[in-house]
Amino acid sequence: MNIDRRTFLAVSGLAGLGLGLAACGVKQPSSGGSNDVSLRYGWWGNTIRQRTYETAFETFTTDHPHVTVQPEFAEYAAFQERMTTQIAGRTAPDLFWIASAQVLSYYKAGIYHDDLDKIETLDLSNFTPEQLESFKIDGKLNTVPLAVTAPVVRFNETFLDEAGATLPDEASTGWSWDGLAEFLIDYTKDAPEGRVGIAHNAQQDLTFESWLRQHGQQLWNEEGTVGFDADGLGGWLEWWEKLRKAGATLSLSEQEGPGMDWALAGDKTLMTFGNANHIADHAKMFPDYTFQLRGMPVLPDAAAGYTFGFMNRLTIYSGIDPDLLADAGRFLSFNLNHEAMLTPTLSLGAPVSGKQLEAAFDVASADEQKMLRIVQHNNAQESKPRYEAPAGTGTWRDIMTRTIEEIVLGGMGVKEASQKMIEGIQDEIAQVS
């Protein structure tokens, strides 16, 4: 077959145009055949979490062969970035996790499906009516909690035994902030191999929140603004400064910044503050050691109801194709209630419903069981309401990091730095309101 130049160009041009149009017209495989559907599910974490979730989803698709789950997974920061651009482009996943700092920002953007409790295929029977009420935003059940975790002290029992030391009794008044500080300074004096009492973890948000609540303050308040004052924040930063100046914390250089790198800090410190669920991943990084969890130290005159749990939320996108809603409800139910989801959920914390939490003990590893026990204990305590981060506070952790650097590296006074941090966060909130 002879093809002249003119024909070749015409064919090339048409083929290019065709491909271009085809590319522009690619349809999201939201609904394939007559009954086949595809649900996009967005979540974040590390590769282990990705694998456990994808494995669990296979159980769902086996039970519901007409449904395909399209995973949209990324590391935390990348996920937030992608979500924002997807929201801007009105292409958010059908179901997605919500980062704590974005709960109200996303709500303000109207991307939650209102009235999840009206979706017939969504089974919320494992939650108590009180729990359902507490999850609501502005009186609407537009997100559901996946898991609950708690602020904890995680300590290296192996190091403690090696030093022949004993932590202050949790039931006594010695398990206070001052008592713990004293213990850590003492431990550091005699610790072998240059170990120190604690990683410098002043920016750990849940433990900071625990400090504030014990002092009768909040991280965020009902009015949607900063719930603490310069004294509350300053007291927290002073507590860390006392330890740092006594040499009982790692330096920022040793732990590569205020956002402590556990891989570096793990075998240099006796303890760290963190979220209860982190024990599973972090303990695996140091298999020669045994780690234990404890509740946060308690002020002698701590405000009533200071205990709290942090819940990760999941929702359905408000812009979901209505034809997908029934299957999205089924898939959401699967996430909340199915036994196949217990193992993946443990990477986030304990299941929220009491029944699921009990069931989780059967599949949890020894370290995960420590987390479950702490959360179970927490759940039994009186707890005052906790408010979500208002819109515009996506950078508050960065502001806190800078505040810590200003004190530790820049020599700024705690009082001045505290005031500056609060003003910085308020400024961010004001810019979006």
Binding site: A77, Q80, S253, E256, L264, D398, E405, L409
Partner: protein, 303 residues
């Protein structure tokens, strides 16, 4: 004769159409991937836009805000320091290596490839991570210093040193300008060197009086490219500081601050305004380069 002309015109017109067909993908890319987003960002720079709600027109507010924004000022200062120190160092190092390699070393192609490699990798996330490990508290540099009894130095967490590690990383990616210098050095006529030798000029004299003036167009080309590239540096600071630009904003590159505002703080309107200020500033710097070029760049066809 007239038949010939019209046939040639038809042929030329046909070739023109063909050229346009092949240019089409590029033109579409220019319009949809570059020009339209550019225009959109210009509009957004005059709005309050959080990516989730509709943009709200606020006039010059974003630009006015920059004047009172201390972090904007920090980002400008850090970026200027980075550009002013790393670009001359990088070019000097690249020229030095190019001059050495131009002497016809054995295994020249190996060295050329080896020295060029960091340029391919330098702006990548992988190399930035390696750099973080190398200069970390327990990293290679401190371990090396430890062998000589020097106490570990905080390279990345000390505000007075953190930027230096990024400058070193940029200087290390000298391969690309080096290759261009090498090509330029090959164009210098050999007879000029021979004449200078006859006149008794030494190596240093030959370099200053022949090599450097002859390759000033190449120096100029590299200078413009590297300056623009350095103003746009992002990956290294993002990876090494964990996206914060810390410690104490000492590695807060302009583009990193822009990214923080747009994608972490959801202030896309302000981020767009920052982007336009950067674009205009780079344009002015490049224009100044071209204006000053007539005083020090010599082309072969000039008297």
């Amino acid at each position: 004769m007239s038949v010939d002309v019209s046939s040639r015109r038809r042929k030329a017109a046909g070739q023109g159409k063909a050229a346009h067909v092949f240019l089409l993908p590029w033109l579409l890319g220019l319009v949809f991937i570059t020009a339209l987003p550019l225009v959109a960002s210009l509009y957004l720079s005059f709005t309050n836009y959080n990516l989730m709600s509709e943009p709200m027109f606020i006039g010059w507010d974003n630009f006015i805000r920059m004047v009172g924004d201390p972090r904007f000022m920090s980002a400008v200062a850090v970026t200027l320091r980075y550009v002013l120190i790393s670009v001359p160092l990088q070019l000097a190092f690249a020229l030095l290596l190019a001059v050495i390699l131009d002497r016809g070393l054995r295994g020249l192609s190996f060295y050329r490839g080896a020295f060029y490699l960091p340029s391919l990798l330098g702006a990548s996330v992988a190399v930035a991570i390696v750099w973080k490990e190398v200069f970390g508290h327990d990293g290679f540099v401190n371990q090396l210093l430890g062998l000589f009894g020097v106490e570990a130095v905080s390279w990345l967490q000390d505000p007075s040193r953190a930027l230096s590690t990024l400058i070193v990383l940029n200087v290390w990616t000298f391969g690309s300008p080096m290759i261009i210098f090498l090509a330029g050095l090959r164009q210098v006529p050999e007879e000029l060197y021979e004449a200078a030798k006859v006149d008794g000029a030494g190596q240093v004299r030959r370099f200053w009086n022949i090599t450097l003036p002859m390759i000033t167009p190449i120096v100029f080309f590299n200078l413009v490219l590297q300056t623009i590239g350095s103003f746009q540096s992002f990956t290294q600071a993002h990876v090494i500081s964990g996206g914060s630009g810390g410690p104490l904003d000492s590695t807060l590159f302009y583009t990193l601050y822009l990214y923080q505002q747009g994608f972490v703080g959801y202030k896309m309107g302000y981020a767009s305004a920052l982007a336009w200020v950067l674009l205009i500033f780079i344009g002015i710097v490049t224009a100044i380069h071209f204006l000053l070029a007539k005083y020090w760049v010599f082309y072969g066809d000039e008297n």
